[in-house]
Symmetry: C2
Subunit: 259 residues, 2 copies
């Protein structure tokens, strides 16, 4: 038994004896609770500033100022500005991923096209509601910032949902008449391998050509959102709702999802 867990056990027993459990909801010292609360508050304030001003305007000093503490105090919670950025990036990926995941619960699981539509609209809705957070994760990289490994898993949540949708579609169609890959769908070599790997990771069972179409639809989706948010539609398709809805359906056809 380690020293830490022994200490925790003693604390637990003490709490049981003295009825402190109501106060210390989890087995945490006041310090630990204060720490996790303040960490959350720092992130919340940072997110507020990110939303208001964008990532490159985000500064530790401003966050500390707004929280009424010395800027040096933040270094107890985040060893550098980049680590705070990393935390925000992970939160943003988790947030958009959660939106997309929740969207699946609103439609019949068997209705693949409805799931595709719901996911796309959820992603766009999140992006419109959090433009700077979207820019942080899908826009031009922050110069000098290198995303660490920990961001990979959250980043993969949206692709995983789209992949799962493809996998369900493929396994459900059970050799229908349109089931075979069309002849024009033979993939050139380097792509065939990549598609297989991606399918193995997020869409088990999906054949390469379908996976490739999925990748194309994926890039179309985010390309359209980025154009809308970054101003490329100004004077073109400015309220982009109609184009978006139409494109989503066209891409569903392109992938081959049933009506």
């Amino acid at each position: 038994m380690t020293r830490v867990s022994r200490a925790l056990l003693c604390l637990l027993i003490d709490a049981l004896i003295h009825g402190k459990l109501a106060v210390m909801t989890a087995i945490q010292t006041a310090r630990q609770r204060a720490r996790s609360e303040l960490t959350a508050e720092i992130k919340a304030e940072a997110r507020r500033q990110l939303a208001a001003e964008g990532a490159q305007r985000l500064s530790l000093r401003a966050v500390a100022r707004e929280l009424g503490m010395a800027s040096s105090a933040l270094y107890r919670y985040f060893p550098s500005r980049d680590d705070l950025l990393t935390a925000l990036i992970i939160d943003a990926y988790d947030s958009i991923g959660e939106s997309a995941e929740r969207s699946g619960g609103l439609v019949r699981a068997a209705d693949i096209r409805a799931r595709w539509r719901a996911c796309c609209h959820a992603v766009r809705g999140w992006a419109l509601a959090h433009p700077h957070e979207y820019a942080l994760i899908y826009g031009s990289p922050v110069p000098g910032y290198q995303a660490p490994q920990e961001t990979v898993a959250p980043a993969i949540r949206v692709p995983a949902i789209l992949g799962g949708l493809l996998a369900d579609f493929w396994s459900a169609r059970a050799a229908g008449p349109a089931g075979a890959a069309r002849p024009e769908d033979l993939l050139p070599q380097p792509l065939a391998g990549q598609a297989r790997e991606v399918a193995a990771a997020v869409a088990p069972g999906v054949p390469g050509p379908l996976m490739a179409r999925g990748l194309i639809a994926w890039t179309q989706l985010f390309g359209m959102i980025s154009f809308e948010l970054f101003g490329q539609f100004a004077g073109t398709a400015d309220p982009a709702d109609a184009l978006f809805a139409y494109a989503i359906d066209q891409m569903a056809d392109f992938i081959g999802l049933p009506q």
Copy 2:
């Protein structure tokens, strides 16, 4: 006759009389030549720093330092940092537009699919060669910077080429068997009007449904390039050449271009 043009006329006569024309290639004073040369040098140095470090690292002081002049001197050429940025943005749009335009000269004008391919590859090639300039015009907007009206015309060059390609395709197909818009291609209202306006601007004669497909392909193209440059393909389709070539062809099919 204005004072300026009288002055120029006198200068011209003087130049003719004294044989100075060889020196003053255009009718410009030494000051004017120096001015336009230095303006170009400033932009060149700024572009170098942009390429090396990205837009938000670009500073007037660093440019001046590299040019061996006082930072205050730059204000004779650009009234503010934002104006320098604007100049770079315009140059970047012109540069990518020119690449795309030149690509059309390398293939048969009647081969629409080859033109589409060539244009897409030219755009991607330019983006890979100038990632920070690409980010400047197609990435997340620089915070606090408002793009002025002068950037609109250069920004429209690539869309104009794609539009021209669509227009040529449409006018050339002359009521072939696949000529009619398919039934699923009836556009919902707000989009129909937008598509008509876009067509009027860059693709005269092109019907709404075809224009809408063009818009979708356009966003797919830039979405894919942005994903590649901004790192979303890391570990997925990392050398993206194959996916890119494949997607370009798939989108050509999607638009309905003949093989």
